[in-house]
């Protein structure tokens, strides 16, 4: 794939989360959809302004947990009944109550790993390069104390001049044009 060229988007910098949430809400009302907020800590109000509510992380957690439970059950049942049957104190070969703890641990192990790696994968990480890292003020602030709104160029409503004017009405600390 040839490297993408041109503008990635317009990045507005704000000093407070309130300004960011206000600008995001207004941008959404103005019809912008391809946009993203960047904050140094989770700002739930920003997610609401972006109308981003649902994540599939809990589903992955559930599926992982079920997979762990089934693995634990089948593994132990097969081993103790067919794979390597041992007579222990004349207990039945299929003594399922004794299998509960390894099943329980495997449920948690699989659920935890699928949650963690699922979250990373859904977020598209690891992604060591991103156009926003080209913006000089982004690296200085996004992970420390500044709040950013990026209106992306692939939005149908995006026009470099008009979008900039739109963002200026929220009096951001700066507006930077970000290249790919």
């Amino acid at each position: 794939m040839p490297p993408r060229e041109g503008i990635y988007g317009l990045l507005a910098e704000f000093d407070t989360p309130s300004e960011l949430v206000h600008a995001t809400e207004m941008a959404h009302r103005a019809g912008y959809r391809r946009m993203e907020c960047y904050t140094p800590y989770p700002v739930e109000e920003a997610a609401e302004a972006l109308r981003f509510h649902k994540t599939r992380v809990p589903l992955l957690c559930l599926l992982g947990g079920l997979a762990g439970l089934i693995t634990g059950f089948l593994l132990q049942t097969w081993i103790n009944v067919w794979g390597y049957p041992l007579n222990i104190r004349a207990m039945p070969l299929f003594s399922w109550p004794a299998f509960v703890i390894p099943e329980y641990e495997l449920t948690i192990l699989f659920a935890g790993l699928s949650t963690a790696f699922g979250m990373i994968a859904l977020n598209g990480l690891p992604q060591l390069y991103h156009p926003l890292f080209n913006a000089p003020n982004f690296a200085r602030g996004a992970t420390t104390d500044k709040f950013f709104l990026c209106l992306e160029a692939n939005d149908p409503r995006f026009e470099p001049v008009k979008t900039r004017e739109f963002l200026e009405q929220f009096s951001p600390a700066s507006i930077v044009e970000v290249d790919h």
Partner: protein, 479 residues
């Protein structure tokens, strides 16, 4: 000139006037100041001399592990004081003790998160690190105790040419699953928690190598809101998974004892009593670590007296559960009307090793549970630091008493023996302290000790007012 009117009270700025409690975070901090403070510890070019000295000392002590394990691999477990009937000895005592210490880290990071105890934010990262390093120390002991550690992988179910599989009706096989899951999930939870902070370190690092390493570790984190929402969801789920996990781990370990038909072990109270004891010793260890760290790195603003006070309260609660456990053991040894149970308890208190029982009562119950009721002592840093050692000694003796006194005088007097640890037992145990401290010092230097993103969420600046910039003016006036 005599002053008239009420004498103005000297108000401690750390005390919240509305509640009378110490603040969780000192007033006057901003996003920038907390970030600078925490990131500065890691990114500074000047490594403190005291840190170097501490690392040298700790690593030297950790050599005890290397030497003992080498000798053990050459000679076998006979170099330890384990014999029949006292076959478990220091290896199992230390295993249970270390893994118990780890439990407080998970409790702080998971259970207190679910209960929305935001004060935990400042201490959860290094408590989690403590968990992982404690599990590293703990995991070594049963592996060495199996006699041929190089065959340790036989514990896992895997297809092999011998056609042999583990026996899943034994708690010892359950232990393998519990401890390995615990170690894995703790590491994952710890790392996931650090991703945004690694992003901050990447952006603030001056050194190209540091920028590169933290950049790789942060996976390219950029603080996108959609990422944050998934991240928060994953954190909450991991906390929800870790909570039953941490309770199950010490429960499973207590089954190693409770399932055996030994007087003093075969009791149903063991699981809750082991878990409470684990949390008790774990909080003591968090205090042991937190008090010097907040002093040395000047983190008094973030790890305040409120944290120390709260941790002391948790110790008081869990210590009381442990006290109940001891009381119930004594009661049941009488109420069971079992001759063996009764003798075991008599032997535990007044037998040849009775002194260990009284050391345990003194250090685990008598000293902490009488003094921790006093708020003055709970916020006395020096006292808490000393007390944390006392409790950890007490909890070690608890495991010693449980393991040794039940084993060395069992049902048949003809098979009675004694237990005496050898110099190798001591060397390995002390060596693990060095290993633990070494790992912890490296962590304190190389990773963010306090979660920056979570601290930022606790600041008053995070309040979002609808209406944007205009509303901000109103807020400032109101403050």
């Amino acid at each position: 000139m005599a002053t008239k009117g009420p004498i103005p009270e000297i108000v401690d700025p750390m005390i919240d006037p509305r509640t009378g409690e110490y603040a969780v975070i000192a007033p006057g901090h901003t996003f920038k100041s907390v970030t600078q403070k925490i990131a500065g510890i890691v990114l500074t070019a000047n490594t403190p001399w005291a840190w170097m000295g501490g690392l040298f000392l700790a690593a030297t002590i950790a050599m005890g592990v290397v030497i003992t394990v080498t000798w053990l691999l050459l000679k076998g477990v006979g170099i330890w004081g384990i014999t029949i009937p006292g076959a478990w000895g220091f290896a199992i005592i230390n295993f249970v003790w270390w893994i118990g210490i780890g439990h407080a880290g998970t409790l702080i990071s998971a259970i207190l998160l679910l209960f929305k105890q935001t004060w935990r934010n400042s201490i959860n990262r290094f408590a989690e690190a403590m968990t992982i390093f404690a599990v590293v120390c703990a995991g070594m002991f049963p592996l060495l105790h199996i006699g041929r550690p190089w065959l340790g992988y036989w514990l896992l179910p895997y297809p092999n040419t011998m056609n042999v599989w583990p026996q899943f009706r034994s708690p010892l096989a359950w232990d393998v699953f519990a401890v390995s899951t615990y170690a894995t999930i703790s590491v994952v939870f710890w790392y996931i928690g650090m991703i945004p902070d690694f992003g901050t370190l990447r952006d603030r690092a001056k050194l190209p190598l540091a920028k590169y390493c933290y950049g790789m570790l942060s996976l390219g984190w950029r603080g996108s809101t959609r990422h944050w929402i998934r991240y928060e969801s994953a954190s909450l789920l991991l906390a929800g998974l870790s909570t039953p996990l941490v309770l199950s781990v010490h429960t499973t370990i207590s089954f190693d004892f409770a399932v055996a038909a030994m007087a003093g072990w075969h009791t149903t109270i063991f699981p809750p009593y082991f878990v409470a004891g684990a949390v008790y010793s774990g909080f003591a260890m968090v205090l042991t670590l937190a008090i010097p760290i907040r002093k040395f790195y000047h983190l008094e603003d973030l790890v305040t007296l409120r944290h120390l006070d709260n941790m002391a309260k948790v110790m008081l609660a869990t210590g009381s559960i442990v006290a109940y456990g001891y009381g119930m053991e004594i009661f049941m040894s009488w109420y069971s009307a079992s001759h063996w149970e009764f003798f075991m308890m008599w032997n535990r208190m007044f037998g040849p090793m009775g002194w260990a029982y009284w050391v345990l009562i003194l250090t685990n119950l008598a000293i902490p549970l009488t003094t921790l009721w006093s708020r003055k002592l709970r916020v006395n840093v020096v006292y808490l630091f000393c007390l944390s050692f006392v409790v950890n000694i007490g909890m070690w003796f608890e495991r010693f008493v449980i393991v040794v006194t039940s084993l060395y005088r069992d049902y048949l007097p003809s098979s009675w023996g004694t237990y005496r640890a050898t110099k190798w037992d001591y060397m390995l145990f002390i060596g693990t302290w060095g290993l633990f401290t070494t790992l912890f010092l490296l962590f304190a230097r190389l990773a963010p000790m306090v979660p920056m993103s979570e601290i930022r969420m606790m600041l008053p600046e995070t309040k979002v007012r609808p209406g944007g910039a205009d509303a901000e003016v109103v807020v400032q006036e109101a403050l």
